[in-house]
Symmetry: C2
Subunit: 331 residues, 2 copies
């Protein structure tokens, strides 16, 4: 299945909804700032997930559109704020919101996207009791995402010897997988799925999100800058404690020259492109990238098991293909 083409087709409705949600406002600068990331594209994996899960369970995908738009708006709100916090100047091949405007505008734009997400959510055409459930689910997801982002930043300052792979897994669950979970769980609620179905869709999406994030860390090291829109090796320069880095630091003995190369680039704002390339080579040589790839693949296998509860359908096939794509893509 050509998942990229599928995403394009399946995201048409939600793209129109997102556009319409970001048209109304009195402040032109703020409107331009909130539109900047959503209009630059993005895979739309999260909102399409909400729609496809609703369809796979038996509901109409269209019913899920306002909720799906809310999920994508929340995703974009976190990107705007994360870029301020991480000092990332580029996103989707364009200047970040805080670069194009300024930091205060970026902070407000993030807040405004967050607010509009909940306005969108309130328009989801479901029985009122489900509105309450979707609200609680989504608001709690954002709290967890905030914790995840805080932990991601804290990790950069914690000695790597004090961080376990379990710490990393919990952090990426919050930072990334929670919003995938929320999308899928919400889609299942909208389609009036059974509690068993809702739970299975959540578990599927947790694995999708975790695999997606682990593969994201790989792409940040090996990806094509032109496709990812982000400078290669940025995570190393920023001192991110990714699964790959944590694995390498456990594998490399204290007298291994590779360890010295890696540590001299990790969190070094002045690391040269050559230093970053060497550090990536170390991560390859000690098997850490393969280790991460294998972890991501295992998440895909786990996630696909959760889909067994679904009747055969095109949507089920899409969900299978989506998780395979999440752990083996070029952007």
């Amino acid at each position: 299945m050509d998942i990229v083409a599928q995403l394009e087709v399946r995201s048409k409705g939600v793209n129109e909804a997102i556009k319409s949600y970001l048209e109304d406002g009195e402040n032109q600068k703020l409107l331009l700032a909130v539109q900047h990331y959503p209009s630059a594209g993005g895979k739309r994996l999260r909102p399409v997930l909400a729609e496809v899960v609703a369809q796979a369970i038996g509901g109409a995908g269209e019913k899920a559109i306002p909720f799906a738009a809310a999920i994508e708006l929340i995703h974009n709100f976190t990107l705007v704020h994360d870029d301020v916090m991480d000092n990332d100047d580029m996103r989707r091949g364009r200047p970040s919101v805080h670069v194009l405007f300024d930091e205060p505008t970026a902070i407000i734009a993030g807040d405004a996207l967050f607010a509009r997400a909940f306005e969108a959510l309130s328009e989801t055409d479901v029985p009122s009791e489900s509105t309450r459930r979707l609200l609680k689910l989504t608001a709690h997801a954002v709290w967890l995402i905030a914790e995840g982002q805080q932990e991601d930043m804290d990790f950069e300052r914690i000695p790597h010897t004090k961080l376990s792979i379990g710490d990393y897994e919990r952090m990426i669950w919050k930072k990334t997988a929670v919003l995938f979970e929320c999308a899928a769980e919400g889609g299942a609620i909208i389609a009036k799925g059974t509690e068993e179905q809702i739970s299975a869709m959540r578990d599927y999406a947790r694995n999708l999100g975790a695999g997606f994030q682990i593969y994201d860390d790989i792409l940040s090291l090996l990806g094509d800058e032109k496709l990812t829109g982000k400078p290669v090796g940025n995570d190393i320069r920023n001192g991110k404690r990714t699964l790959i880095v944590l694995h390498a630091l456990k594998e490399l003995e204290s007298d291994d020259p590779g360890r010295k190369i890696l540590l001299s680039a990790l969190g070094n704002a002045d690391a040269t492109p050559d230093q970053l390339t060497e550090a990536v080579q170390v991560l390859k040589d000690c098997g850490s990238i393969d280790f991460a790839r294998e972890k991501a693949r295992r998440h895909a296998i786990q996630g696909k098991k959760c889909l067994e509860i679904l009747e055969p359908s095109e949507e089920k096939d899409f969900l299978v293909a989506a998780i395979d794509y999440a752990v083996d893509r070029n952007v």
Copy 2:
């Protein structure tokens, strides 16, 4: 009526609720950051407004507590982000969140408070259909607050000759009055008020909020720093286009020496305390402070008219006293 004492008594329930909403989380640093402003006090005018309006209309005030807590959490979220954007280092007599922690933590703490506010809102014990209405109302209020904050910042960079008092009024409606409106309207919805009652409570709160903000601008010039917790004259240093400043710049002829004194301090980060004192004197002398005081009083009169729809009650008396207090207080 001793409104300060009343606020203290009437906010007990919501204070407990706020405390409990900010206890649960895995990241200690983030919990401390989100608790920092709510635990430092504050008047709790907004949440108490929600409760008292519910009672005045005939509902149980307790039913409004989760919603009231949500309103106060939203207020605190905006304070945390505003302080980052305005570079305000002190709040309620204590260091701001971004000073005590750092800017990224303050951005995340604001987001987390926002998220928890909507979790609180989802727990309001009302018919499900009202949950949807409260959600839409509150989420849209936050969008407007974001616009108001953007305009407040934009105004600092727009030549004052291009700003009218109408621009100022629209900006403070969004930045301040909208959340009061949301609190009162929500309280009326929770109490199952008629559309006429809901609308009257919204109009009352709009006047309360506008009067409150105008008086806030006066306090920032004349208030006791120990009580307000903010350095006197900060608004002048930051170049804020308050009603007072806009009025003065319209009143003072181009050759008036007072105009020069005011303009040399306005937006001048290096203005000395003496320069600020002189600028305040100019604002007094040309009647701008009295003008603002009169505007605020007129809002109080308008607001009280909206209360005529209510049956006599202690709560109605409180609402009358609250709007008088908003436009004549010392903190």
